[in-house]
């Protein structure tokens, strides 16, 4: 691992902030705040439309959203470089796809079961990932993809590449054996992986108290793994924790667990009215809405949230219209591609909108000159 390679990816403007006390906001420019706000608005707008389309009977199967948790996937993925890999976003993590630049029309085609490049109609709801953008679609079995992410990170480490894998999981998923195997393996091998736990208080109808006695971030000590608890409704806090975890991973410091505290504001899926959650609890969390919380910061950076929302809504409207007029998949292809033929197609690079990377690229060029 050469220092030069490492430097290339570390933004000049970003002093290494190892504790949560350092001011992360400094690392985010006005453009970043505009982007973060837009991405969260977009996440919410897409999901709201998804729920509506589901209730209208246009989206088949089931539908899941991450209402109230938009800051987690957006903030975390915003800290990734282009050739890092998200393995995988889960049912609350639409934002991760959006940060990486996933095409909106394709997302709606996917939801609607239309022919599309993400899943070709073979998968539904939030089971997709654009491999061309370095996103691995999840499986349902929780939290299997953490183990896979460790394997991706292992490949990066073995090849001496300055990249990391980012993996999301819920509080409830920590009860399964694969969680432990992933945590232990990554730690023993010092694989460059960042684990983001979305602690949204619930696993379907079951509160965390019936899932475990020690919260996930504290359990990281059992693996000698650094961990941090962040306010999952604060997009800059999530961003910064993941940014630092990523730095550590690229420095050979191995995995980190970031536990983002939030609340699932909707039912488990669109079919679930979540009557098992008290209105008081929901009201208390509604006051901490991640979009509302970020709005004044965005405004302070010159962003006009209203204008952004209009733009986002237009994009979603247009995408839905186009998706709805797309053809259904050809039934003749239903059993194609069970096996791969020829050279496997791999993971591409995604969007990496954080200004820090651009700065680093400029610094690089300067150094090379």
């Amino acid at each position: 691992m050469s220092t030069a390679t490492r430097t290339r990816r570390r933004p000049e403007a970003a002093p290494k902030a190892e504790t949560a006390d350092d001011a992360p906001v400094d690392l985010l420019t006005a453009a970043d705040h505009a982007a973060l706000h837009e991405l969260m608005l977009l996440t919410r707008a897409v999901e709201e439309r998804g729920v509506r389309l589901y209730k209208q009977g246009k989206i088949p199967g089931s539908f899941y959203d991450g209402r109230g948790q938009e800051a987690i996937a957006v903030g975390a993925t915003y800290a990734l470089a282009a050739d890092d890999v998200v393995c995988s976003p889960l049912i609350r993590d639409l934002g991760a796809h959006l940060v990486r630049g996933t095409d909106l029309v394709e997302v709606f085609r996917h939801y609607l079961g239309r022919e599309n490049r993400l899943s070709r109609g073979r998968e539904g709801n939030i089971h997709f990932g654009d491999r061309r953008l370095g996103v691995v679609g999840p499986v349902s079995m929780l939290p299997d993809m953490m183990v896979v992410a460790v394997g991706v990170a292992m490949a990066f480490r073995i090849r001496g590449e300055q990249r990391c894998a980012l993996s999301f999981f819920g509080d409830g998923a920590t009860s399964r054996g694969d969680w432990h195997e992933a945590m232990n393996w990554a730690s023993v091998r010092r694989d460059p992986v960042v684990f983001v736990c979305e602690n949204n208080q619930l696993a379907y109808s079951t509160p965390t108290s019936r899932q475990f006695r020690v919260r996930p971030a504290e359990r990281a000590a059992a693996y000698a793994m650094p961990a941090e608890i962040v306010d999952g409704n604060d997009v800059t806090a999530v961003f910064d924790a993941v940014r630092r975890a990523r730095e550590r991973a690229l420095d050979g410091g191995g995995p980190t667990l970031v536990e983002a505290e939030s609340m699932r504001m909707h039912g488990h899926g669109a079919h679930d009215d979540a009557s098992y959650v008290t209105p008081e609890l929901l009201a208390a969390w509604a006051d901490r809405d991640p979009l509302a919380a970020h709005a004044p910061i965005a405004v302070a950076h010159g962003v006009d949230p209203e204008a952004l929302l209009r733009m986002v809504t237009e994009r979603v409207d247009a995408a839905v219209a186009e998706a709805l007029s797309s053809p259904m998949p050809d039934p003749a292809g239903a059993t194609d591609d069970v096996f791969c033929v020829g050279e496997p197609q791999g993971l591409g690079a995604g969007d990496a909108p954080w200004s820090g990377f651009a700065t680093a690229a400029i610094a690089d060029r300067r150094q090379a000159a």
Binding site: E123, V139, A334
Partner: protein, 322 residues
């Protein structure tokens, strides 16, 4: 007798047997106050308390493994996989611990693993699987798959009373779609096949949801042929005698299976007939199953892989004309 859906019959079976036998307890994700993802356990925690109707962590290996422990300690656990697809996460405990304990140690694991199976509603690759063949291929596990509300209740009670681990396949597509008369109280339906419709010209062998597809086809063919539908009900033990008798009466057989084709239950039934009833056959043993692909999500793709009445009808006609 009360008229119930397949799902209500399952709830009724659980409730009645829990009233009759205090050793019975339920384990599963969200089965308590929430009543389960499909509401099969609605009201049961209220009636029986949270020790006998337990919300578990998301830990399928532990759900199955602790059920084995509770069973050898004298209880009668009935555990629910939220979808049968997730049983893969507890596969080892089921196959290696539960399935082999009696043969190896003389202990017994009287337990039931409830498995909501099957496709047909846009569930996609991870909410549509039919895992029964894996367990048929694992010695020591019984595997049953009722198709009617009456059998769902009776075989569930039979499974709870059985001194062995039983995989209880409940097809999600039957839950609310199929209604029927269900006897009150408790009764155990034996793990044997049932002639769902007698006939002389052709036997369609099916189980679970496919029994209804087979019956539809048999009705459609009624003007031209007299089709027998054999509802296997139990896959392990497999009612070989009923299969062979039916084939010897009709001389032609079509086997319908919603699972992926290779090494499915239907393959075993075909192999059985090809070995034991070769002389009685007047035509090839035809199979209709899901091709070897994950179950796709899209409304145009899913019916292209699942065995539809149309596909069954076509195969039946070909066979009748053979």
């Amino acid at each position: 007798m009360a008229r119930m859906t397949y799902l209500q019959a399952i709830t009724d079976g659980l409730r009645e047997e829990m009233r009759a036998d205090e050793r019975v307890l339920l384990l599963g994700e969200d089965i308590g106050a929430f009543g389960g993802a499909f509401k099969a356990t609605v009201g049961l925690q209220e009636e029986f308390g949270s020790d006998r109707v337990q919300d578990t962590p998301i830990a399928e290996a532990a759900i199955i493994g602790t059920s084995v422990g509770a069973a050898i300690a004298g209880l009668r656990p009935v555990c629910e996989m939220q979808f049968s697809d997730f049983v893969a996460c507890g596969f080892d405990q089921l196959v290696n611990v539960a399935g082999k304990i009696h043969y190896r140690t003389g202990l017994a694991a009287p337990m039931v693993v409830r498995l909501p199976t099957g496709g047909g509603f846009g569930g996609g690759p991870f909410h549509s699987q039919n895992p029964e063949a894996w367990f048929m291929h694992a010695p020591g596990l019984k595997v049953v798959a009722p198709s009617t509300p009456e059998d769902a209740k009776g075989m569930l009670i039979g499974a709870i009373r059985d001194p062995n681990p039983v995989c209880f396949l409940e097809h999600k597509n039957l839950y609310r779609r199929v209604k029927g008369d269900v006897p009150e109280g408790t009764y155990a339906t034996p793990f044997e096949a049932r002639i769902a419709r007698p006939g002389r010209d052709l036997t369609i062998v099916a189980y679970g949801a496919m029994v209804h597809a087979a019956l539809t086809v048999a009705e459609q063919l009624a003007p031209e042929a007299d089709v027998e539908v054999l509802d296997l009900r139990s896959l392990v033990p497999l009612d070989e005698q009923a299969i062979l008798e039916s084939v010897s009466r009709t001389s032609k057989v079509l086997i319908v299976d919603e699972a992926n084709e290779t090494c499915a239950a239907g393959a075993q039934v075909a192999a059985l007939i090809a070995e034991q009833a070769f002389d009685q056959l007047d035509g090839p043993i035809r199979r209709i199953a899901t091709p070897d692909a994950p179950i796709p999500f899209s409304p145009t793709l899913e019916p292209a892989v699942l065995p539809t009445p149309d596909r069954i009808l076509e195969a039946a006609r070909e066979l009748l004309a053979y």
